[in-house]
């Protein structure tokens, strides 16, 4: 009888110890930050230095929104191997119009209102809109501070109207 009680006690103690350990372990887990740094998957790229060097890095990306003129698609800023910055529009669609340009604006986002550049918002001209539909690339002038110019706008110069804007976020 005493023996059974003793065995029972031992089992209880062991079980408590186990559960405590598990809990301690969990707490440990909570405090410790497991850092992990997976390399980008390159397939064959890692061996092939030439191809690797001709790769472009994706820096920023954002989706277009537009109410005045329905505008959709994605704007992405790439850095080419030689350091050049390129803005690429994909799945892009806006309405056609006169004197439409692609610009970078020094704001976090641009409203959908026309006449949105009245308060002397700084901007960087990237060129005339090449087409109102489809994938297209625009060179970004060297030295453009992308931490400052955070929004892409499709912009009608003549009427100072914002067709659509894409706020850029870090990729």
């Amino acid at each position: 009888m005493v023996r059974t009680v003793k065995t029972g006690l031992v089992i209880a103690v062991v079980a408590t110890a186990f559960s405590l350990q598990a809990r301690l372990y969990a707490q440990d887990n909570m405090k410790q930050d497991g850092m992990k740094q997976d390399e980008m998957k390159h397939d064959k790229m890692q061996d092939d230095k030439m191809t690797h060097e001709s790769m472009a890095k994706t820096l920023f990306t954002g989706k277009f929104h537009g109410k005045v003129h329905a505008t959709s698609g994605r704007a992405t800023v790439y850095q080419e191997a030689d350091g050049k910055l390129v803005l690429r529009l994909t799945n892009f669609k806006t309405s056609n119009g006169p004197d439409v340009h692609v610009i970078l604006v020094a704001t976090k986002d641009a409203g959908d209102d026309a006449n949105f550049l009245k308060n002397n918002t700084e901007r960087v001209e990237l060129g005339k809109l090449k087409g109102n539909e489809g994938d297209q690339n625009y060179e970004i002038p060297a030295g453009t501070d992308l931490a400052k110019f955070q929004t892409v706008s499709v912009y009608c110069e003549r009427f100072n109207a914002n067709f659509g804007a894409a706020p850029l976020e870090k990729f």
Binding site: K36, Q37, T61, R88, K130, E133, D135, E169, K170
Partner: protein
């Protein structure tokens, strides 16, 4: 009398034509109304060699639910057709039994922090670290049109740490 009115009429007409045509021309130049119906479609290639590099197909930003979570979730398609999920600038709380799962973006369960009942999800694996860049292979059969959100999910407590709704890259 009749002649005079006629000539005045024609003079008016002439004036109208002389003024009207340039005005119309100017208005046309300014507004280019025909552009409403004419699309200019372009299709430029990417400005760099794509090669065998994996391409991003979907991306989204992580938003914290029950725990602060941030970073970007991107689904890449590698040259051999396999998909994988990559988390970048990633940060969440550490915890027990945390998994990376694909969920349905429109799932009502995502509005709660603690899921009641079962969460319809595709398991990608245990979270490898609560900080840092990391990759997870996607099962070959997964339908990315159905599961368009990534969740950091504690299976033990049915707690959603964070969610990223994916959008086409």
């Amino acid at each position: 009398m009749n002649k005079i009115t006629n000539s005045r009429l024609s003079r008016n007409k002439l004036a109208l034509i002389l003024i009207g045509i340039p005005v119309l021309g100017g208005a046309w130049w300014a507004f280019r109304p025909e552009k409403l119906f004419i699309n200019e479609k372009v299709n430029e290639a990417a400005p760099f060699t794509v090669g065998s590099e994996a391409q991003p197909v979907y991306t989204g930003k992580l938003e914290g639910k029950i725990h602060q979570t941030s970073g970007r979730a991107t689904i890449y398609k590698s040259a051999d057709g396999k998909h994988y999920l990559r988390l970048t600038d990633f940060m969440t709380a550490n915890g027990p039994d945390v998994h990376v799962v694909l969920v349905r973006a429109e799932d009502k369960a995502l509005e709660q922090e603690i899921v009641k009942g079962d969460l319809d999800h595709v398991e990608l694996g245990s979270l490898r670290g609560n900080q840092g860049d990391q990759n997870y292979d996607l099962p070959a059969a997964v339908d990315l049109n159905q599961y368009q959100a990534v969740a950091i999910y504690c299976e033990r407590f049915h707690a959603i740490f964070g969610v990223a709704r994916l959008e086409q890259f």
